[in-house]
Symmetry: C2
């Protein structure tokens, strides 16, 4: 496929490289990165918007302003694919801001430079056609089918509900533990080492991603309140045991 990647943050670079590694022709645009990346041609904003398939790899919180700015410049027939870690919010924005003859697909590759560093085998990727002719959607779907991923077609609502209680809770626990500045210790049990690796992995991602994951997922509040309720419950049980 001939693809463009708009945005080269931590995930955008990783994603452009994965697309190139899977034999796609990749052009990419970034406000800040102008030096070439291996197998990826860095182009102007105007040129990246001319790609027939355009991946948007900007932060969730800047998604609306970026799309507002670029939507008028995207040619009819282009397939716009977001890669946000929440799905209801960017899907609404794409349907609202893109003209009907610019197509859009929601996607969430649920891995990144850390979890994908040893390959993508069996890692989940969610995809969902929002406004796309079946034949064009099939092209995109078939491409990712070849990547040895666990490719799942799932609605934005189902995604956000399930992601809040899996990816979302993992990031939340990682950030809560990170605030405690846990240290390596000679006493580290297997479980503690695993806990530390979760902190490290979730906190390698930008803090903005964490905030966005929680703020733009309508199911995150339930998860956070659940976690708080559960902590209070376990504390209460401990107190009762002592009496």
């Amino acid at each position: 496929m001939n693809v463009g990647v708009y945005g080269l943050g931590r995930f955008g670079i990783f994603w452009a490289q994965e697309l190139a590694r899977h034999n796609n022709n990749v052009i990419a645009y970034s406000r800040s990165i102008k030096d070439p990346l291996y197998n990826i041609r860095i182009v102007s904003e105007e040129e990246v918007l001319s790609a027939p398939i355009l991946f948007i790899c900007v932060s969730i919180s800047s998604f609306e302003s970026v799309l507002t700015k670029i939507a008028p410049k995207i040619k009819p027939g282009t397939i716009v694919i977001d890669t946000c870690s929440v799905k209801i919010y960017p899907s609404k924005i794409m349907k609202k801001l893109l003209p009907f003859n610019v197509y859009c697909i929601a996607s969430h590759p649920m891995f990144g430079p850390d979890s994908g560093k040893d390959g993508l085998a069996n890692l989940p990727m969610v995809i969902y056609p929002l406004n796309c002719p079946p034949s064009l959607y099939k092209e995109v779907y078939d491409e990712f089918s070849k990547w040895d991923l666990h490719l799942l077609e799932m609605s934005p609502d189902s995604h956000d509900r399930e992601a809040a209680w899996s990816q979302g809770i993992t990031h939340f626990v990682g950030r809560v533990l990170d605030e405690l500045a846990l240290q390596p210790t000679a006493l580290a049990t297997t479980g503690y080492n695993r806990l530390m690796s979760i902190v490290e992995q979730t906190c390698n991602d930008p803090l903005q991603l964490f905030y966005d994951l929680q703020r733009y997922n309508p199911y995150a509040k339930q998860m956070i309140m659940g976690l708080k309720g559960s902590l209070d419950y376990v504390m209460q049980e401990l107190t009762e045991q002592e009496q």
Copy 2:
């Protein structure tokens, strides 16, 4: 070594088997298990107390009552070694209840049937002489030196302080997440799978161990309050981001 194991709960069975696997002659006593275990001779309470080295593998909360009952029956010269997951509390009990000519060593093998199932290489074990002639202590120390463990001599106070913020916090997080009945999902990220494995491993241990770990470690309260404070802080930060 000729050793006795008093108590065959989940950890006691595992420990007796590890001792036997490392070429020690093991006799064991349990209130409930009377059938033979591979390479371990199940004996009466009276007989197990005649072993020159006696490992106590009962729950932390029953440690005092068990020791009160057996202390008068233990012969001078015996080395009593506890294996509790906290160290200040059982150390005090042993020093209080055992006559001066019955020796005692504090130990905490920081692994169990789950974390030790693929072998003990580099897993931590804490050991500390409370009342033991150096030559006898050396015999015990040297035995565990040969096990390919990460053997650490550490005072009960240092152990409890560090363990609260490593093993303790891991078990606490595991139980808090377990109350939420998290489910496997096709969307599971690498981090979520790791989180689920922590829940599974910590909750395979008896609930009593969890309560005891927190109640009998004087540093657990600091850890729990820290965790609660950190959760409140992250929630507050999220709220401020939204404004």
